[in-house]
Symmetry: C2
């Protein structure tokens, strides 16, 4: 008890670790006391299980939820865009026109969409660290951990048939095994026009007030039939109002709240600027391409949206890191923990060196960062076809090894998903491929200099654009059958292949692998070990009632519907459908502030005071897109689609002063489905017609 008291004391005195509605909580380690104390809410195991199993992860980077017993899934339009765009053709641009399947038979299958539903979580920290001794060097311990993880995943897959992923938490402080039910037959049911879903476009993105119907519906099939699910969220017609407690169940992508200050400075001064430079480069390239004609726009718009969205998100994150006040807060928090460790000789002995150890990995990362980013992370080869070539080459190499020794992404447990993606027949556009590959090769040459030996090997005596043209023209990897042939043929087929993209992937592989090895040995693994120590120090000092950084796995956040102040003026917590029309008029109804014809045509029928979007204090971040917003009763009251600019700093530190999560309101969805889209079939399933 003394220890507990001391901890509580530190909590108050030193480091107000948890602020108000902070937290992206693990479903197996929720904060019942916190919810009880602040909101008088009982997070019963049954409630938790229901929400967990009604939640859906979109594997390409988003969240969603079951909203009917017949496998109807709701997510954001911008999460569904990849599929919606790929279902289109030059003649049918569903992003522009929207889509509604009149009958189930008209629901078209997405070419490469995988959904996951989390079935169980198990702490496997001991198993992952089994056999690791302090004497082992980074490389040996990394290999041992990798072997353990691959074995745990394989065993789980064999035993349960479920997708099994070991997730590193607390930057290495713990490892949990996540088992997912996996769905790969996902079909499009309904999507509004992009003009409604992304009304206000890039200018309004990450802003509030906001007026977007950023939703779409898919249906999950199994064995050719709609899947029957036990856990789905019932629809709340009225939705949430100001002051209501709400929950968000989704998959926040990644945060860096537990990073050391030196680590954050590396993000701020080195890696974020590099990523942002890359994003702006892609944005300009894709904009120019998209403006040339409408078909170009259709082909590129999903990627362009993603790039613009990331650019704006990074801008907000970077503004946070460049704010001395935030860095000072992080510095103080770090100092508090380090001081506490120093005061306890045992803690000092065990964890005192961890911060410097992280520092050493930052220096090591600095040395190889550019090369590693270009070659191993593949930024030099911005091309779907190159990605396919590399996967085929490495698949042959890795599957020739025992499971324990393979690169993480080629371990037995993940092969099925990997092959589904590899053999997707989603269209690949040669003109766009050539443009993107040429541009990224040019960028590579600029970072390293044209005289760099590796650059010269890659370019093969040609200009970046000419080399890209030659590669895209010459490859046959556009053909799924050819991919399958090469995979079936294994190492021998790779060796014999004269496909120029395969040859390029083979050419760069030794250097790319060398960089990865170095990065694993000198950065990732020692960093994991050091952070594991910091995590244990934090547990020892502050107790275990904390949550780990986001890892694109299911988390529970909570908060209340609440406005905020901006430039001294109050911002109301919700907007209305009528507000959307007013906002359009304020901007002369000019693109991207142009509402689709379906909205203007049905304006008279609409109840303009129906809530459309609202904000809450829930602790969310990118990856939460499409997450259901749920009330005490477990009903769906909205769907997360954004956060305001001020929320982007949540990557590094929670705040509820101005940071807000933005959702579409359940009542606004129903009003639009009824009166604008006449989407009776969906409404019937939601039980609200």
């Amino acid at each position: 008890m003394t220890s507990y008291l001391r901890t509580a004391c530190f909590l108050l005195a030193l480091s107000p670790l948890l602020k108000a509605d902070e937290g992206m909580w693990l479903f197996n380690e929720p904060p019942p006391k916190l919810l009880k104390d602040k909101y008088n809410f009982d997070a019963t195991p049954a409630w938790m299980e229901h929400v967990q199993k009604a939640s859906v992860r979109f594997n390409d980077g988003g969240s969603g939820s079951f909203v009917s017993p017949d496998g109807l899934v709701m997510t954001n339009h911008h999460v569904g865009t990849d599929c919606i765009q790929k279902l289109g053709t030059k003649e049918h641009d569903y992003i522009k026109t929207g889509f509604a399947a009149a009958v189930p038979a008209n629901e078209p299958k997405c070419s490469d969409l995988e959904l996951n539903v989390l079935m169980s979580i198990e702490d496997v920290t001991a198993g992952v660290n089994a056999g690791i001794t302090p004497e082992m060097d980074s490389s040996a311990s990394e290999r041992a951990q990798r072997a353990n993880i691959n074995a745990i995943e394989k065993e789980s897959l064999d035993k349960t048939g479920l997708r099994s992923n070991v997730i590193m938490l607390y930057n290495g402080g713990a490892y949990h095994l996540y088992r997912y039910k996996k769905y790969t037959d996902v079909r499009l049911v309904f999507a509004p026009e992009k003009e409604a879903a992304f009304f206000g476009g890039d200018p309004d993105n990450f802003e509030f007030p906001r007026y977007d119907l950023d939703i779409c519906f898919f249906r999950v099939y199994e064995n050719g039939k709609p899947v029957k699910v036990e856990h789905y969220l019932k629809w709340s017609h009225d939705g949430a109002k100001e002051g209501d407690l709400i929950f968000v169940s989704g998959n926040p992508g990644s945060t860096a709240r537990l990073d050391t200050v030196q680590h954050l400075e590396f993000l701020r001064d080195r890696s974020n600027p590099m990523v942002m430079t890359l994003l702006r480069r892609r944005e300009v390239m894709l904009r120019v391409y998209s403006e040339r004609d409408r078909e170009n726009l259709r082909r590129a718009q999903d990627e362009l949206f993603g790039v613009e969205n990331s650019r704006k998100a990074y801008l907000g994150m970077q503004a946070g890191l460049q704010d001395p006040a935030i860095m000072e807060l992080k510095r103080r928090q770090e100092q508090d923990l380090r001081d506490a460790v120093k005061r306890d000789p045992k803690l000092l002995e065990a964890y005192g060196g961890a911060w410097d150890a992280v520092g050493k990995t930052i220096e090591a990362a600095g040395e190889i960062y550019t090369d590693w980013y270009m070659l191993e992370r593949g930024m030099a080869f911005h091309s779907k076809l190159f990605g396919i070539a590399r996967t085929i080459v490495r698949l042959a190499q890795e599957t020739a090894k025992p499971n324990a020794e393979r690169l993480r992404e080629y371990s037995e447990a993940g092969l099925e998903s990997l092959k589904e993606e590899l053999f997707s027949d989603a269209p690949i556009y040669s003109d766009l491929e050539t443009l993107e590959l040429g541009d990224s090769l040019g960028m590579y040459a600029e970072y390293e200099g044209m005289n760099n030996a590796q650059v010269r090997k890659v370019l093969d005596g040609k200009s970046p654009n000419a080399r890209a043209d030659e590669l895209v023209r010459g490859t046959k990897l556009n053909d799924v059958a050819e991919r399958k042939r090469l995979v079936a043929g294994g190492l021998k087929a790779i060796e014999d292949s004269t496909d120029p993209m395969i040859r390029l992937a083979v050419l760069v592989d030794p250097e790319a692998r060398r960089l990865r090895r170095r990065y694993d040995d000198e950065v990732d693994q020692p960093r994991r070990q050091a952070y594991a120590k910091i995590a244990r120090a934090r547990f020892a000092v502050y107790g275990t009632n904390i949550y780990p950084d986001a890892t694109f796995t299911l988390r529970l956040a909570f908060g209340e519907v609440k406005g905020y102040e901006e430039n001294g003026k109050p911002v109301a917590p919700s907007t209305t459908i009528g507000g959307a029309f007013a906002h359009a008029a304020d901007h002369g109804n000019q693109d991207p502030f142009h509402l689709p014809q379906s909205w203007t045509a049905h304006k008279a029928a609409l109840n303009l005071s129906t809530p459309l979007n609202f904000v809450s204090t829930a602790d969310i971040i990118g990856g939460n897109s499409g997450s259901p917003v749920i009330n005490r009763g477990g009903e769906l009251v909205g769907i997360i689609f954004d956060g305001n600019i001020e929320s982007l700093v949540l990557d590094y530190a929670y705040s509820d002063t101005q940071a807000r999560a933005t959702s579409v309101h359940s009542a606004g969805i129903v009003e639009a489905l009824k009166k604008i889209y006449n989407a009776k079939r969906v409404l019937t399933e939601l039980g609200v017609n």
Copy 2:
């Protein structure tokens, strides 16, 4: 004669220095023999003088010509945009609507436009180098040259009252004194809508076929009355047709054809990538700002156009430098000259070390490039208000020194133009200033790291955006009277000023000046000396009938109206007005392929087969925008407004395979003025109604 023969022999054997229509010729050193031999044209002194004095330089970066005896000047719409935009208000956006003054009294004055007409050129190489001895170090020789130049310019100004600039040619091989008649009362007469002037927008920029009416008309006033000019270009109604010889008289901005290979590699691997990263960053920022609402767009569009235009130009230039074939050509040419120097012991002794000397300056530049670019070139402070603050601070410091010792841009001869710009009442928009300054401060922090001492001093403990907000909010430099007060108060006023922007300019000045000093001493001056040697070596080996790299001074180019081949298909040399309508229809009349209402309304009246744009082999580059295209008879047959993508490589090497200069056709201009714009007053002055 032997020497000449040997030279000619080298010319053929080694280095085909001049290709076909290559050359941006000095008006005092034209190529009469070349023109006589190839085109049987006599470039008489009278013809040359007429063209020279009818040509006009737009000081903010463009060209134009007198087209009536009453001071009517034609240039490109995109050259005039800065003035047209500044004349607008939230209520009147002349960029969008176009502009036509019904009577002379309605011609509004541009706030800060200066036009120059070249009156004479004088070789002052000896004077500039007077007193320079081989024993002097870079710093001493630079000071001596600067003193000589300042004295020459001052003496010329005092004697003639003309704007007098000593221009460095052949990278330091020669210095010529240019004397200009300067006009600062310039008023807008006519401009079409941007939709017509820049039809096809960024996607069509640097492309051909093209369909732009990229023109506008200004009038030059003196003493409140239209200036009467002796030399103006008569209008050719029919214009030029395929195969015609044409001349271009204008101010190409800068080329790097005489740069060493190592220098070109520095451009390719270091400075171009940095500039392009900056351009993309600005482009994205300005796009986002412009999309927020129409008034934002009006405020930012001139800068946005400039940035997009530069980005595309750099992309083309960089593609040239990244093309191993072009670099190989440059390498061979350099090797040929170096071999020739090696074969002659005298040349070897005098010039043999010049290439390595250039190399040393490249290394020196590499060391300080980022700091210098950020602080002295001011990229860290992307703000009109900061620019004003720096000019005020330096003006006080420099004018306190003798003329001979001043920084180049504060020498006596240039003060009048400098003050006119400084005291311009062109609007400055605080929101845009804050955005741009915040973004550039953030960029500076990213390049140097937030912990850099100079960065910390600049940011003063705030985030880049907060610092920008504080600076823009706090400064009074928006007020022209305050600028005048500070300038009148000299050093004392600067010292006493608490204006935060002035204080920032004072704060960074010592370090900025230190970097400039280093750059001058270790890069610019030794490079100039080394290039002067290479230039003399080139004269010795190949003779003097060559032209210097472009320096934004008046040059004469020539060529013929001629199509080319692209992807195996012929591209016709000209387009028609009818083609513009077809091009719009091909793109669904969607912006930026939307023709203005004035065009569609008058379509029936137009002769659709009238030529609109045409291409020629003339050797032009950025800065030539607005240059008159002239026939043998000295009549105006068109106006340069662009070059195709393939022409961008002309920065480094001339080619007439695909590179083409793009012009608006004189007949197309007349047809549009008559039937679309009913611009009778202009037509009467042109003598074509």
